[in-house]
Structures are given as C-alpha cells and as structure tokens.
Symmetry: C2
Subunit: 141 residues, 2 copies
Amino acid sequence: MTKPKQEPLIDLCRQRGLRITGQRRVILQVLDAADDHPNVEELHRRVGQREPGVNIATVYRTMNKLAELGLIERHMFGDGRLRYEPAPDEHHDHLINVETGEVIEFRSDEIERLQEEIAQKYGFEIVSHKLELYVKPRKTR
Amino acid sequence: MTKPKQEPLIDLCRQRGLRITGQRRVILQVLDAADDHPNVEELHRRVGQREPGVNIATVYRTMNKLAELGLIERHMFGDGRLRYEPAPDEHHDHLINVETGEVIEFRSDEIERLQEEIAQKYGFEIVSHKLELYVKPRKTR
DNA sequence: GTCAGTGCAAAGAATTTGCAATTAG
DNA sequence: CTAATTGCAAATTCTTTGCACTGAC
C-alpha cells in the first residue's frame, strides 16, 4: 500500500557490515516481499516455503538485529505478538480492522503536527510515537 | 492527574453481580487508589501490603474480569507487560517519558476529530484507539 | 583463520488454566 | 445450597540464550 520501491534490505545489511548467510538472504527476501506486518511465526512460515530448515531462533535473532539497526520496525498490535515491517521512508500510522485483522497504513500530517505541539506543551520532544485506530466496517444503511 | 472522583469500582462490581471477596475488595481498593498505570506484578505488590497472601493468579483473573466488563483499561506500553488503569470517564491518550517511564495523560479533541475523519474516509468506524507519544525532556537551548 | 551466525534444546518471562477446596450470596 | 472464586502448581505462549559447530569474509 504505502510501499514505494526502496533499496532492498540485503544491500542495507551489506552496508552495515552484516554477513549475508543463506538463511539471512531468504529472511530479507521475505521481508522485502511483505506488504503486511507479519509476526515471527508467519515470517518463519514464509521463509520455510523458500528454504526449509531455517530455525525460528534465527528469525528472532535476525529481526532483533535488523530492528537495532533501524532497518525494520517492530509493532505490537492487539494480539500481544511482535510484528514487523521494513522501515518505511516516511512515518505512517495504522488502522486495524478488528473483524478481519487487516492492517491499513495511513498518514495525517495534521495529526503529526498536533502531536508535536502537545509534546512541546509538556516540555518534551517526541522520540517516537504510535497511533492505532481499531475499527470495524461502517454499517452503511 | 486526570482523575475526577467517580464511583468506586466496588460499587460498579456489585452492580454487575460480581462477588465481593476479601481478595477482590483489596484489589479494587488498590485500583481506586492508583493514579498511575501499574502492571500486574506491581498491583500484586500493592495488594500484598494491605493483605498478604493474595495469589498473583487471582490478580490476573480479576484484572481480566474487570477488563471484560469495561471497568478498567488495559495498556501495553513499551515494556511488553500489561498495565491497567480504572476506566476513565473521558478518553485520553498517553505520553510516555522514555527516560523515566513516567506516564502523562492528555487529551486533544482536535486529534480525536481527525481520527474520526480518517476512519470515515476509509469506510470504518472507530471501535477504540490508542495514541502514545514516547518522549524525552526537551533540551532547552 | 576468525568471529559472526546458526541449530538445537533448554531457560526465561508473562500469563493462563485444571482442579480441589473455600465461600459469598 | 451452589455456583463463583481462590490457591497452587503445572501448562502455555512467546522470546531469548548457552554452547558447540559452521561458514562468510
């Protein structure tokens, strides 16, 4: 959805000096191909389709490493499991359909601005933020 | 902070037909007295000060029951543990100081309105939402 | 060659659950 | 009386870790 073409993760990893192993290559491909917000179990499943035998601990470790480097973003939506998405060029927020679990990305410059204002009012600066709208389809009568 | 006097939880529980046991009474007192967002371990600690011997499983079960009934709200801030606050009369959002862990409540009608607008634009209605600003003290100068 | 990365199984951390005993209503 | 609640320990679920081995650079 909000997914402009950008440099593949594998190149970013090389730049940062990570070793490109077979397992890692597949994990990065899966991440690049994802346009949703999979959790580790789902990632592991997708990796397994391309290359069986990759241990889930490796997926966990890779995600942690990528998150440390800021190459992916971690989320915790309603279900209590970590989910990931390749770091977007521009920040966006999430709208979660509670009936289907579907996640839609959106962005509101106006809300971004108001957030800054609020933080400032309290004497802080924003490190990061998270706005999640849990929604259901509108009954159009 | 944003904590207008309201009906004690114990009365709300009676109205909903929950049995008031000794353990539950203490837990509810602790919740009523809290003006922060404690996790279960912290609640259990506070309960233990008033009445030793209450099992932490009881605290978990009670919090789940209260949340089901909408008498308290669950949050998951940065640290991956569930936290609770008595359900406020009016919705508010949170500003979390990442350096101290302190949580400040705030409300912006304008942001609320923009959220509605966005949900509507996508054809949804909001079930609930969560806005969290992770902040740090502003370096003045 | 060296050290980051991996698999595996075991450990952790947070939360839930089965069950027998207790107790509020 | 009896169905809800509790304590306790065991089970679940998700994630991390120790360690010996492998392989990228």
